[in-house]
Symmetry: C2
C-alpha cells in the first residue's frame, strides 16, 4: 500500500482533475476543494467549479476517527464500498450515487455530488416529509437483498461474493458497538446526564441479552444477502422525489433483516425524538403518524416486492415452495423488528448517538424521548416473535408511547 497517503484538500483537487473528466473544458484555477466529512471513518472532499460542475472524493482513513488512531481499520473497505455500490447501482441505479473512479491503493472513490440533496436525518430533525422516500427505500432494500441472495444467484456465484465481501474490520465495529457495548459497562458508552441508571439496567437483563446474543449470532453466521450494513438515516440522501443511499463500506453478507431493521429503527428513533423536537402537539402527532404510516407502507411495499421476486425469480427449484417462502418472509420480519430494536437501544446508550436525540434542547424532554426509544427498542427485541404484522407493532407502540 505504498502509494497511500492521507489527502489534503489540494491533493484531492489535483487527483480529481487528473482522474475524471468532470471539469473538462473548465478553468481549473477556479476549482475549489473542501473537506466536510462528519463521518468517522473517511475524509470526504467536495471539488466544485463556480459553473456548477462538482464531484465528491471520498478517501478511507486507516483508523476510525471517532475512536481515534487506536482503532485501526483496513482501507480495503474502500474496495468493498466501491464494489458494493457497483452492485447496488446495477440493481437500482436511481437510488445510489454514480461512481466515476476508484483507486484501490489510495482507497479513493470519486462519485456524484449530491449537494442538491439533504441527509435524511437532518431533514427529519427539521420535520420534513418526502413522499417517495418509503417507496424508494422499499425498492432499494427488496432489490439489493433479493438479487444478491441464494434465492436468485447461482450458489457458486453467491459463495464467491461471500468471499469478496468478507469485511472483518467494519463488521467488528457493528459487532462491538451494536451488540456488545450497550449490554455491559463499557468505557466506550455514552449516556445522557441522568440516563446512567436506565442504561445500567440493560447489563443485568439476562432475557434481553439472550435475544441480543441471538441477533448477534445471526449477524455473525447468516450469509443471507449482501447487506449495505449501515442503513441509518445518515446514510440516506433525500430531496423531493429522489432518494440516494450512500456509504456502503459496511457491506457484508448477513441477515437481510439487519438492513431493514436499521432503517426502521432510525425512523422510530426520530419518532421518539419528535417528543422533544416539535413543540406543537398537533404538528408533532401529525408528523409521528406520517412516520408510522410510512413504516407501514415501507414494509408492505418491501414485502410485496420481495414476495413477488420469490414467486417469479427464485431460480433454485428446492426453494420454490410457497409454504417455506412464507416462513422465510416471517423470519425476515422478526429479524427486522429485532435489529430495529437493537439499533434503537444502542443509539441511546452506546458510543454513537443520533442527532435526532442529541439536539433536543430541553433536557427533561431529551431524557423522556431517549427513554421512549429505549423502551420501544427493548419491546421490539423481546416481543418480535409475537408481533405478526405491522398492526401488532403499532398496537404495542401505542401502549408504550403516548402520541
Amino acid at each position: 500500500m505504498t502509494r497511500y497517503k492521507t489527502f489534503q484538500t489540494a491533493d484531492a483537487l489535483a487527483y480529481a482533475l487528473e482522474h475524471t473528466d468532470r471539469f473538462a473544458g473548465l478553468d481549473s484555477t477556479a476549482l475549489t476543494s473542501e473537506e466536510f466529512g462528519d463521518g468517522n471513518l473517511n475524509l470526504v472532499f467536495r471539488i466544485s467549479h463556480p459553473d456548477g460542475a462538482s464531484l465528491i472524493l471520498k478517501q478511507a482513513l486507516p483508523y476510525a476517527r471517532c475512536v481515534g488512531e487506536s482503532w485501526p481499520l483496513s482501507v480495503d473497505r474502500a474496495r468493498i464500498e466501491a464494489e458494493a455500490m457497483l452492485i447496488e447501482s446495477q440493481l437500482c441505479p436511481a437510488l445510489v450515487p454514480e461512481i466515476y473512479h476508484y483507486d484501490a491503493e489510495l482507497a479513493v472513490t470519486i462519485m456524484e455530488d449530491l449537494s442538491d440533496h439533504q441527509i435524511l436525518r437532518q431533514a427529519m430533525v427539521e420535520g420534513k416529509r418526502f413522499p417517495t422516500l418509503m417507496h424508494d427505500m422499499a425498492v432499494f432494500l427488496a432489490d439489493t437483498l433479493f438479487f444478491t441472495s441464494d434465492l436468485y444467484l447461482d450458489p457458486a456465484e453467491k459463495k464467491q461474493r461471500v468471499a469478496q465481501f468478507i469485511n472483518p474490520d467494519l463488521c467488528k465495529i457493528t459487532e462491538d458497538l451494536f451488540f456488545l457495548d450497550p449490554y455491559c459497562d463499557h468505557e466506550r458508552n455514552n449516556y445522557y446526564p441522568g440516563f446512567n441508571e436506565r442504561a445500567s439496567k440493560l447489563w443485568s437483563h439476562t432475557a434481553l441479552k439472550a435475544e441480543i446474543a441471538d441477533l448477534k449470532y445471526r449477524f455473525l453466521t447468516k450469509t443471507q444477502s449482501l447487506l449495505h450494513g449501515d442503513v441509518h438515516a445518515g446514510s440516506i440522501f433525500v430531496r423531493e422525489g429522489s432518494t440516494k443511499v450512500i456509504d456502503a463500506e459496511f457491506a457484508y453478507y448477513g441477515p437481510a433483516g439487519f438492513d431493514i431493521g436499521s432503517y426502521i429503527g432510525n425512523l422510530l428513533l426520530n419518532f421518539c425524538a419528535q417528543w422533544g423536537l416539535m413543540d406543537d402537539e398537533d404538528a408533532r402527532n401529525n408528523y409521528r403518524r406520517w412516520i408510522l404510516e410510512g413504516i407501514d407502507s415501507f414494509w408492505n411495499t418491501f414485502a410485496d416486492r420481495f414476495t413477488g421476486y420469490l414467486a417469479e425469480n427464485t431460480n433454485d427449484p428446492s426453494l420454490n415452495n410457497l409454504h417455506w417462502q412464507s416462513r422465510l418472509m416471517q423470519r425476515i420480519w422478526h429479524d427486522t423488528l429485532g435489529y430495529a430494536g437493537a439499533e434503537m437501544i444502542r443509539r441511546t446508550v452506546g458510543l454513537a448517538h443520533v442527532k435526532d436525540l442529541d439536539v433536543i434542547s430541553d433536557h427533561t424532554r431529551q431524557l423522556q424521548a431517549a427513554g421512549q426509544a429505549l423502551v420501544l427498542g427493548e419491546a421490539l427485541v423481546m416481543q418480535r416473535r409475537q408481533l405478526d404484522n405491522m398492526g401488532d407493532v403499532l398496537t404495542m407502540l401505542s401502549g408504550l408511547v403516548e402520541y
Copy 2:
C-alpha cells in the same frame, strides 16, 4: 495448473518416493503401488513395502467419477481437504490420519495408511461393534464444530476461514444430490425395483419439501462451523479402539447439525438395513439396540462436551448467556434430526445409495428395509421441532419400525 496430470500407479509410486521419507533405507524396487479408490471423486493409491512401511496417495480428479466427466470439479478441493485435515488434526490428532505431504498443483495429498482399519460402513454391514466409536465421533464433532465457530474464534479469523473454505463445486454435489434430486423426478435418481411409487410420493409432498427447503437454505446460508461436510459411514475408518475420519474434501462453513445429522443418519440407515442383513431376530434386535443406545450415548457425549465448551471457552461476552446457549443447543439438535432424516431419504431414492441397503439379497426384505429408512427419514424431517430429546426420537422410532 500446468503440472496437473492424472497419476498411474507408477507415477504415484515415484512421486511418493521423491516427496516423503517413509521408505528411507528400504529397497525401492520392492515397493508396490495399487489404486483402490471406490470413491467417486479421487484416485487413491496405496504404496507399500513388504517390510510393512506404507502410505496413501490421494489425487483429486477434475470431474466426478460416478457422474462422469460431464460433471467437472475443481481440484482446488484437494487444497480444501488438506487444509481442513490440518485443522482437524490440530483439534483432535488421534481421530484423523496424519498428513505427510500436500501438492496443490497436482492435487495430491500423501497421508497415513489406515489398512489396519476397516471402513465403518462395511464393518456395520458385517454387524461389528466398536466400543469407542460413539465416544470418538462425539469428540471429533464437538471439537471441530465448536473450535472453528464464532463461539470460540475471533470473528475476524473466522471470517477469513469462511473465505478459505469457500467450496462451490463440492457444495453443489450436496445441494443437488442431498436436497434437490430426491424431491423431483430427476434422471440422476436411482430406485430399487418396485420402489418408484414410494419415491414419487416425495415429489408432491409439499409440507416435506418446505422442510427440505428450510434445511437446504440453512446449508446455503449458515456459516456456523467448519464442517467436514461428508460424515457418512464410508468416511470413517475403524478398528478396535481407534476411529479415523477421512475425506474432508467437502469441508465448508455450514450448520453444525449437518455433520452430526449425516453421522446419525448413516447409523439409522444401518439400523434399517439390518432388517435384511441379519436373519437371526435376537441377534438383529440386539445389534439394533446397540445402534440406538450408541446414538443416545453419542449425542449425550457430544452435547455435554459442546455445552462444556460453551461454558468455558466462549470468548465473545455477548454469547456468554446461558439462556441463549441452551436455545443454541436445541437448534443444533433440531438441525441434526433434520439432516439425519434428509440423509436417510436421499440414500434410498437418490443417486448415491448405501451398501448397507444395496447388499441385502432378499428383494422383499430390501424393499422393506429401504421403506423403513424412508419412513424414518421423513418423520425425522417433519417432526424434528417436536422431538425434544433422544427419548422422543426413540418413542417415535418404535412407533414406526418394529424391533
